[in-house]
């Protein structure tokens, strides 16, 4: 019998090893697997490479994971934000590596890894410093650069509904990076707002088929990073002192 449901957060992330490349879903306030990220802080795996569109806010979620010292490198498209002081300080202090990837190329590199594509050409970055040193090729008279897949060991993803096969749906625009990140990691760990019976998600409405998902944990009332930041929450409590 297939049952991907894990009873608690700690167990769900217990398989993450030192040195792992970890994809973390979410964009802004939507789709962040904050509880899984906090469980990863407690778990303590080190020397991680994180992949997210941004680089965390405040002192919770991804920013708290950076602050914990467990992260060697950040791959993202836009590290700067109004509350990205943890990353900013670490970067300026030389305490973290940064790879900046245009947002669409980041998404496509993740998709390529999941779909068995070994590399692809895109016009994005042509004429910019981010194309320096990259192989080029002409299609339809326009220049393209070659980009590589972005393989990962682990994906931490937030979904809305999930079932024991790992089928997923997402709420509204919280879908963002979730579906492609699920495909690209050796182990995909999902926090879902609600676990439903098999068959409750109509097959035409499944967004991520369970084949891409390894572990599902229910987090019925996920916290809001925005509210945590407004209340100056640090994870773990007192961690910044």
């Amino acid at each position: 019998m297939i049952d991907k449901i894990i009873e608690n957060l700690a167990e769900s992330v217990s398989v993450i090893e030192d040195g792992a490349v970890v994809l973390i879903s979410g964009f802004g306030e939507s789709g962040n697997p904050t509880e899984l990220v906090h469980a990863l802080i407690d778990h303590g795996a080190r020397d991680l490479t994180l992949v997210n569109n941004n680089a965390g806010n405040g002192h919770v979620g991804l920013a708290a994971l950076l602050e914990s010292g467990q992260v060697r490198k950040m791959i993202c498209s836009f590290p700067r934000s109004s509350h990205s002081e943890v990353f900013d300080t670490m970067y300026v202090g030389g305490r973290i590596e940064l790879e900046v990837v245009p947002q669409g190329t980041l998404a496509e590199r993740i998709r390529a890894a999941g779909a068995g594509i070994g590399g692809f050409y895109t016009r994005t970055t042509i004429g910019t410093p981010l194309a320096d040193g990259k192989e080029r090729r002409i299609y339809n008279g326009e220049e393209y650069v070659l980009e590589d897949p972005l393989y990962a060991d682990v994906a931490l993803v937030k979904a809305n509904l999930a079932d024991r096969w790992g089928n997923l749906t997402y709420r509204l625009a919280a879908r963002n990076f979730g579906p492609i990140m699920c495909t690209a990691a050796k182990t995909t760990i999902v926090q879902a707002r609600q676990i439903v019976d098999l068959g409750e998600i109509p097959p035409e409405q499944v967004v991520t088929p369970g084949i891409y998902v390894d572990r599902v944990v229910e987090v019925a009332n996920p916290g809001s990073e925005r509210e945590m930041i407004e209340n100056d929450v640090h994870y773990p409590a007192g961690g910044a002192e």
Binding site: G28, E29, L98, V101, Q103, G104, A107, I110, P129, L172
Partner: protein, 225 residues
Amino acid sequence: MTDKLSRRQVAWRLAQDIEDGNYVNLGIGMPELVANYIPDDREIVFHSENGILGMGCEPRANKVDYDLINAGKKPVTMLPGGAFFHHADSFGMIRGGHIDVCVLGAFQVSAVGDLANWSTGGPDAVPAVGGAMDLAVGARKVLVMTDHNTKKGDFKIVDDCSYPLTGAGVVNTVFTDIAVIDILEGGPNVREKVAGVSFDELQSRTGTELAGADTCSELLAPDVG
């Protein structure tokens, strides 16, 4: 005699150039104002790169849902006919040439339509690019919305960008507080300028040679604030 438009007026002016039925992506910040000034008889579908088509206006305070935000991470609403999709599909839409118009800000625009809007190249700056490079190459039309000069008075429309590029040869038209300038094959061509600024003065405030002295018309906008 108008000698400069407000930001809202620039947004209004740019909005008049968006055609009925266009699929439009508005960059974060000043370009977002454009949504307010689309003529009532035009139906526009707004795209947001996090995975939305068919965005509506800001929600009322009691309708805010942080799972429904735009690329600027601000709460939005959905119009009937809207759709959600994931990030790879969203940028496939952008790169694949399906977005009719994107509106971006700029640090600099060159005479051949190069755009620099992501980095001032300072050694200590944290580099951050987001989706601008994808939009710059992917959208069928790239419209730039910017002040004509920096606060210090430096040129923003120049022979060659000194800042790192976002995209090469991508800009179609620049909408500034004093002019509308099309980047044509032959170079920048002034389509409209405010009455209070002479062509010579416009040229003196621009870091590259402008054409259109004899053909440009008056840049006008209603008092939208």
